[in-house]
Amino acid sequence: MQPPDDISALYQRFDGEASTYREIQRDSDVQAAMERWPQALLGQRQSNTLAPAIEIQERWGQPGPHQGSSWTPGPQAMPSHVVAVTSTQGGAGVTSVTAYVAAACKRKLSTPVVVVDLSTRNLLARYAGTPMHSCAGLARSTLAGQPWRDVVQQTKQGVDVIAQGELLDEDRTTLDSHISTHPQWLAQHLAALQLPADSLVLLDLGSTPTNTMRQALRLAHAVLAVHLPDVASLTTWPALERLIDTHCSHRSAFTGCLHAINQVHMAASLGKDMTRIMRHQWQEANVVSIHRDEAMREAVAHHTDISAFAPHSQATRDINVLAHTLLQQLTSDAGIAKAAP
């Protein structure tokens, strides 16, 4: 974790090592927060004590290097920056964060930024602000055996959106079983997009662990986990963490999990404490707060991007920080070194 800006500036003045500074007040604030909500970490502790053998025996197959290597597509076709966006609970804002972060990244990049809606609710197109009159999307294209490139739509910000699209229920079942029986489904379709190697692809995974999510995690170079500052996110995090550990952490190209705490408001007692506890828990990783802001929802209602709708809002600033942090993580020396082989 970075030392806070005031300590960095102070220690820089006398060539001191800012990392030796002890954040005693912050630590005691975290301690106090944990004491105020003794139940908050309860569920977490219990799931941490689960034996790992149980999950590994799930029906969708063995994780591990031999499967990962068989999926690795050719470098000329596979984008090198794939980000899986998921969350610890429904309603945390995965889709809006995906859409807005993609737009913010696009403003910083000249290469393609592609968002792919892998959640069944088909909301990404709405959040990204592309036309939504057709029911076309990757679901229908998959069943029809057609390339996803045909359903790409561009937003005003220049983000390429691949919507999920609408399906009848019986078609949905067919698609599900197709995905279950084709472990390279996602990899092949992404490769078939024939994107330039340095493109950025954001996969909106929703919050439910499905086979789609597992396929996505196996490809991801980074995971963006969206949380709410509440007990539910804290409680379900270990389950998501295990999923990430299983499918991502062993791969050298994986740069780590980036956390976004959504709808933060540091005046509310519970929210403030949960934010502190989460930041403390994830202090080894990048954590970004997205402040509670009505503009997040209003932008969707206006079918536009947050930075266009409320350019001076704190939410826009936070989304920009998140995009910046994400790109930095993906392209940092460690990240590049990991991604290169």
Binding site: M1, Q2, P3, P4, D5, D6, I7, A9, L10, R13, F14, D15, G16, E17, T20, Y21, R22, E23, I24, Q25, R26, S28, V264, H265, M266, A267, R279, V287, S289, H291, R292, D293, E294, A295, A310, P311, H312, S313, Q314, A315, T316, R317
Partner: protein, 754 residues
């Protein structure tokens, strides 16, 4: 000097030796040359050292003593000054030392010539003024030499890192002595103390209330802070601290004047040296002020020019540190309890208990240290009269120490320590010499006294190198913390006021007080302090008269000594400027706010009741409000309730507030309804950020002597220009009530200030 050596080892890697290896393109030729010269292995042999000292002494004696005629002296003086100007262009401490040698030589040469060739007075009038001037010059010469000794090599100590295991950290009592300061001021300091990053079980905070006020007691109880009183007020602040020492027991005591707000890193930055040097008994940090002192306020130089105190905390204390003679300054310092108790607590024999305490610790063989990192900030005295009152107290105390516990005498001190303390003491005797300099040319202009038995041009040939070398050398040493010629202004303002108390205290240390009344409070209206300005008016009048008489004598007197008259008139002109500048300082500028604002550009967020947010920046903050810069187009109505987020790294706190003003894109925010915890958080995100005062410290423009002279001249003429209007106004009746702050937010309180 084991302590000094250990301090140097801390400064690794760059500063690890006295003559660090100059590397890279930044090292000047002078540094490389001097490094090569000083690190030569031959110096290890004592014979070479002795020979070098003898050669240097002979050369110095020649430079000082060889008499020259007028033209040769002119050429000699010009040549050495050009050499100094040339040296000045190169960086490095060795160049500074070389310039000091040139300056000392030029000044010694002048003084030697002065004593051997200019004193042959014919009559008692000449002798009276002549010897008077010589005495004043000798004083100035001694202070110059000791000043070089003190400041030639500032130690520049760096913090020592704390051990990783927090459990080994010592316990600390934070003392916040107060007497009659308003609670509003003290609260900030207490909140900041609560937010110090130090293990809670090893940190005790005590408000030492000599005012025994119920509101203070209540406040302390409400936030779980110790509250200590005693049944008398003997020995003021020193007695207050000593009484508290009896009721507390931590290993260390950190002392903050009640208006000095520590930053959160204070203890972690300052305590490391105690763990490293077991003999260390006291560590002092600079006093930084976030409100302008009367000079800065009345001359509008706040944050544009180093202030009066900056020289002491910027250079002198760091120089003292080399000689293990850092002074305790009463606040923003850490003292080890055991040695403090060993010397009987804080000294009570003199009114400068702080410096005297450090002296006593030094006598017991303990070390003292100075860390030039601003880790606390406070309020400066508001009015010139209270400022003068404070300086009188310091001057009296120093004179008392000189009499009661003279650092030249007694046991336990090293020579360096004795000299540092002696200079600190002698410094406060400048009152009389300064007044002599301010009136000296009048002796010739008005009374025709021949105070110099030499021709005018010869005087110039000797005196000019002396003054010019001293100026550029001091400008090089002090340039970041004192601008040229301002020392004369500060001394001129104070000379009359500290002269009498210092002499009286020196003659009779127990003599009564000479304090002028400290009015305190904010200055609600512009006004001219005629009472304070009286001596400056007299000095101005005398020098103007002298100048006029000089002109008259040039034109009316047959065989007038025009060159002597001109020299004295130039001197008089300089004195007129100093008197004018003093008058400008006495012209009190109205103070707009009762709570000073501190500039700081940092991110902030406005949360509106509608659930929307605005990302913005702070412009400045004060104790109970903020000024924000809004994004373009944003508008907020007056009295709109909002919440404001402030940040420090990943830390964020939200504060309830109301819009109090808007103009263009500036939004005034008034905090409202904060809980005590929120107030403490607000302090910790503003006043007590670790870096809060870094940009206040040594960051003003560096001195350029001629520009600074221009500034002093402009100030002097400004003071005279406004004098007629000021005088007129000051005869109008002034409502005394306007001097007092109705809200009780007045802060200046000499009794608790050091």
């Amino acid at each position: 000097m084991s302590k000094t050596e250990s301090a140097f080892t801390a400064n690794s890697p760059q500063d690890s030796t006295y003559a660090p290896e100059p590397t890279g393109s930044q090292a000047s030729w002078a540094e490389r040359f001097s490094h090569h010269l000083t690190t030569h292995p031959r110096w290890r042999h004592p014979a070479f050292r002795i020979v070098a000292v003898i050669v240097a002494a002979v050369l110095l004696a020649l430079g000082i003593g060889v008499p020259l005629d007028q033209n040769s002296q002119l050429i000699f003086g010009a040549a050495t000054f050009i050499a100094a100007l040339w040296l000045r262009r190169t960086a490095g401490r060795m160049t500074t030392l070389a310039m000091v040698v040139l300056s000392v030589t030029a000044s010694s040469r002048y003084i030697y010539w002065r004593l051997t060739s200019t004193i042959g007075f014919d009559n008692w009038l000449d002798a009276f003024f002549g010897y008077g001037l010589v005495a004043a010059e000798l004083y100035a010469f001694a202070v110059l030499l000791m000043g070089y000794f003190q400041t030639a090599w500032p130690l520049k100590r760096r913090p020592s890192t704390m051990p990783e295991d927090v459990k080994t950290w010592p316990s600390v009592d934070v003392f916040i002595p107060t007497y009659n300061e308003p609670l509003d001021v003290v609260r900030q300091t207490v909140f900041a103390a609560l937010k110090l990053d130090w293990p809670a079980d090893k940190l005790n905070i005590y408000v030492l209330d000599d005012g025994r006020r119920d509101a203070f007691k209540e406040f302390c109880h409400s936030i779980n802070v110790g509250y200590i009183t005693r049944d008398n007020n003997q020995h003021a602040k020193a007695g207050n601290i000593n009484a508290a020492l009896l009721q507390t027991q931590s290993d260390y005591v950190a002392i903050f004047d009640c208006d000095h707000i520590p930053v959160r890193s204070f203890l972690q930055v300052g305590m490391g040296w105690f763990l490293r040097d077991p003999k260390l008994a006291m560590l002092q940090t600079p006093h930084v002020f976030f409100s302008p002192d009367p000079f800065e306020k009345n001359l509008d130089t706040f944050r544009r020019m180093p202030n009066e105190g900056d020289l002491f905390y910027g250079i002198v204390q760091d120089g003292n540190d080399l000689w293990n003679a850092s002074f305790f300054c009463g606040s923003c310092a850490i003292i080890k309890r055991a040695p403090l108790l060993e010397i009987g607590g804080v000294a009570v024999e003199t009114v400068t208990e702080d410096a005297h305490t450090a002296l006593k610790l030094s006598r017991q063989g303990y070390s003292t240290a100075y860390l030039q990192i601003p880790q606390a900030a406070g309020l400066a005295t508001e009015s010139l009269s209270s400022h003068i009152g404070q300086r009188i107290r310091w001057a009296r105390g120093m004179a008392q120490i000189a009499r009661l516990d003279n650092p030249l005498l007694g046991k336990g001190l090293k020579l360096g320590q004795r000299l540092c303390y002696l200079n600190a003491m002698m410094h406060f005797f400048y009152g009389l010499p300064r007044l002599v300099f301010l009136t000296a040319p009048l002796a010739y202009l008005l009374f025709g006294a021949q105070v110099f038995q030499a021709t005018a041009l010869l005087i110039v040939a000797y005196a000019l190198p002396h003054l010019a070398h001293a100026n550029i050398t001091n400008s090089r040493i002090q340039g970041k913390f004192r601008h040229s010629f301002w020392n004369e202004v500060y001394e001129s303002v104070l000379a009359w006021y500290i002269m009498r108390p210092v002499l009286a205290a020196f003659i009779k240390p127990s003599a009564g007080k000479f304090n002028v009344t400290a009015k305190g409070g904010i200055i609600a209206k512009d006004f001219f302090d005629l009472h304070i300005a009286r001596p400056y008016l007299i000095l101005l009048g005398l020098n103007l008269l002298g100048f006029a008489v000089g002109i008259g004598r040039i034109f009316l007197e047959t065989n007038a000594e025009v060159d002597t008259l001109l020299i004295n008139m130039v001197w008089t002109t300089y004195n007129i400027i100093l008197a004018g500048a003093s008058l400008a300082v006495a012209s009190e500028t109205r103070q707009v706010r009762s709570t000073p604002r501190v500039d700081a550009q940092r991110p902030a967020t406005i949360h509106l009741e509608s659930g929307h947010t605005l990302a913005c920046k702070t412009q400045n903050f004060s104790q109970n409000g903020l000024s924000l810069v809004l994004p373009p187009g944003a508008q907020l109505a007056l009295d709109t309730p909002v919440e404001i987020s402030l940040f420090r790294g990943e830390e964020e706190c939200v504060f309830p507030a109301k819009v109090s003003s808007q103009s263009d894109n500036r939004l005034g925010i008034h905090l409202e309804g904060l809980t005590l915890a929120q107030q403490a958080e607000f302090t910790s995100l503003t006043f007590s950020r670790g870096d809060a005062w870094l940009n206040r410290w040594g960051q003003t423009q560096r001195d350029r002597p001629l520009r600074s002279l221009g500034h002093v001249i402009a100030t002097g003429f400004g003071g005279m220009l406004h004098l007629p209007a000021n005088l007129l106004n000051s005869f109008k009746p002034r409502p005394e009530a306007a001097m007092r702050d109705s809200n009780g937010t007045a802060t200046s309180q000499p009794s608790s200030k050091s």
